[in-house]
Amino acid sequence: MPLDLEKMEGDIFTSKGMVKAEFTFWVGLAMDKFYDGTTDQKFIGTKCSKCGKVFLPPRNRCGDCFAKAEEFVDLPGTATLKNFTITPWKITERRAKKGNKNALVGLVQVDGADSAFMTEILNTTEDKLEEGMKLKVVWAKRIKGHPQDIAGFEPVGGA
């Protein structure tokens, strides 16, 4: 039977309180090195000691071999677009709203890496996007060893 809240008025009391919970997450051994790299405007990945797969963003363990992937390798700033989507929505800290122009986001595989990550595709238009196109990294104006050091990727040779 559903509760009839109106009938129950007077029987219900509310107790207001505030709970503050702060969470901290440590980036870990591999990602710490990754952000060291972005500070110098370069990509650092890890290499599996058994199968040789290269991970970027780096991780210290290969998922396929369960072997250590603790060898750091420098990777170039060029990449291949593996997948993409186009969205009018822009998410800010306050809310999601429609932006003035569509945002292009894609799954980018840095040359020499076996894994890929999602980032924005800059300085191009929707009609020019295609899977497999060559991209290069665009670093943020202010570098601070932070995920936002990577502003996005743009097509090699301009739009």
Partner: protein
């Protein structure tokens, strides 16, 4: 009620424990313990058939952490199960590992317990556990603020201080007796490689010199909040004989909840009002001993690890699980019976009192007990350990887990079935 297959422990491993393991993320932390366990066992990760893991919900500040660390605990493309029962999580994960073998489903099972408390908010985690109990109390006419201040009396220690009071009243144990337990634990911890609070020179006076948090418990007596992980490898009797030098057979398990939840404050259905009575622990121990064929635990058990974040609990548990006569534990500690070279060493790892990575703590107890039988413990007792007990306490402070382990398989398995 008996296992179809005789389960055995072949290895147990740990990561380095500390108050803040800020150098690694949760997945890497767990990975350290998994690697330690697999390397010590000398098997390949591919030999593992099933992975079971757990930690205290909400303490780490991330939901379903077990899924994003899949690759870090060798569980890719393997049957996977998460078990979580609050403070007893580690014990329940261990028992789940036992069940997985005992049922005949799997041959090799990796069980993992972990906690990175520096990530989450411990008070928030505790609140989420206690809330179920709190929510019933307005029905009894308590105001919310009163509930928190009366029952909490300074978070988890509030629960323990009521327990300590009633235990001390029963047994005539003194504050000095509590401090003696702490000294033994912290000095033992100093000899064990992975532990958190290492105090090789601490004295009873040092402990009694610290201020009270909530009578009779002082700052120097309570467990720390730790980041850490523990893992154990379970396998069948046949396989264990091939792999391990000294296989450790799990001969009895108990997992009972009996005490009313928080403090018996709502007096539960059973009307229990004494938090040091611990009928759940007694029942759990009785069942585990029964399965293992142990009639006289105080004579037949050579080593015990009990889950005691607070020193009064250590005295209480060793009595409730039948290792000492009621109200005699404090005396036994004073005589050194429970010390490293004593007749019945207790918590030589340093115990939960020195290292408390909650989701791992209740697993570290059976893990340490198993290692003592294998002769591979960090702080190994000089005498030979044949039979050992690993105990866990937690949940909504009312779930007790027991594992009785031995270097001999269960009697009824002899001669084959």
């Amino acid at each position: 009620m008996c296992a179809k297959v005789q389960p055995a422990v072949i290895s147990a491993g740990f990561c380095e424990h500390a108050s803040k393991r800020s150098d690694v993320n949760m997945a890497e932390l767990v990975n350290e313990a998994v690697e330690d366990t697999i390397t010590k066992a000398g098997i390949e990760w591919k030999d593992i058939d099933c992975v079971i893991n757990g930690n205290m919900p909400a303490f780490e500040g991330a939901n379903i952490p077990e899924l994003w660390m899949t690759d870090h605990m060798a569980s890719k493309n393997k049957p996977f199960l998460r078990v979580t029962t609050g403070g007893t999580t580690g014990g329940s994960v261990t028992i789940a590992g036992y069940y997985a073998i005992a049922s005949g489903m799997y041959e090799t099972v990796l069980a993992i317990g972990f906690e990175q408390q520096s990530c989450g908010d411990t008070s928030m985690g505790l609140a989420s556990v206690a809330l179920g109990e709190f929510s019933i109390m307005p029905e009894l006419g308590y105001e919310y603020n009163k509930i928190v201040s009366n029952m909490g009396a300074g978070a988890a220690i509030g629960i323990a201080s009521y327990q300590a009071m009633s235990y001390m009243r029963r047994s005539r144990a003194t504050e000095e007796d509590l401090a003696r337990v702490v000294v033994q634990n912290r000095r033992n911890a100093a000899k064990n490689w992975y532990t958190h609070l290492k105090m090789p020179t601490v004295t009873i006076e040092d402990v009694l010199d610290t201020p009270y948090i909530s009578f009779p418990l002082r700052y120097g007596m309570v467990c720390p909040a730790t980041d850490g992980a523990c893992a154990m490898l379970f396998t069948t009797e046949e396989k264990a004989r091939q792999i391990a030098d000294i296989p450790v057979y799990v001969n009895g398990v108990g997992s009972y909840s009996n005490e009313s939840a928080v403090l018996a404050a709502d007096c539960a259905g059973a009307g229990q009002v004494d938090p040091s009575e611990q009928l759940g622990a007694m029942k759990s121990a009785e069942v585990a001993y029964g399965q293992a064929g142990i009639s006289f635990p105080n004579k037949e058990i050579d080593y015990a690890e009990v889950y005691a974040p607070f020193p009064n609990q250590e005295l209480m548990w060793v009595e409730r699980v039948g290792l000492f006569e009621e109200n005699t534990a404090a005396e036994a500690y004073e005589q050194g019976i429970t010390a490293l070279n004593g007749e019945l060493p207790i918590n030589c790892s340093g115990g939960v009192n020195s290292t408390n990575a909650i989701g791992a703590s209740a697993m570290e107890r059976p893990a340490e007990a198993a290692l003592q039988i294998m002769g591979k413990a960090g702080n190994q007792v000089p005498k030979t350990v044949h039979t050992a007990l690993g105990h866990g306490w937690g949940g909504a402070v009312n779930l007790i887990t027991h594992l009785v382990m031995s270097d001999e398989p269960q009697r009824k398995f002899k001669g084959g079935r």
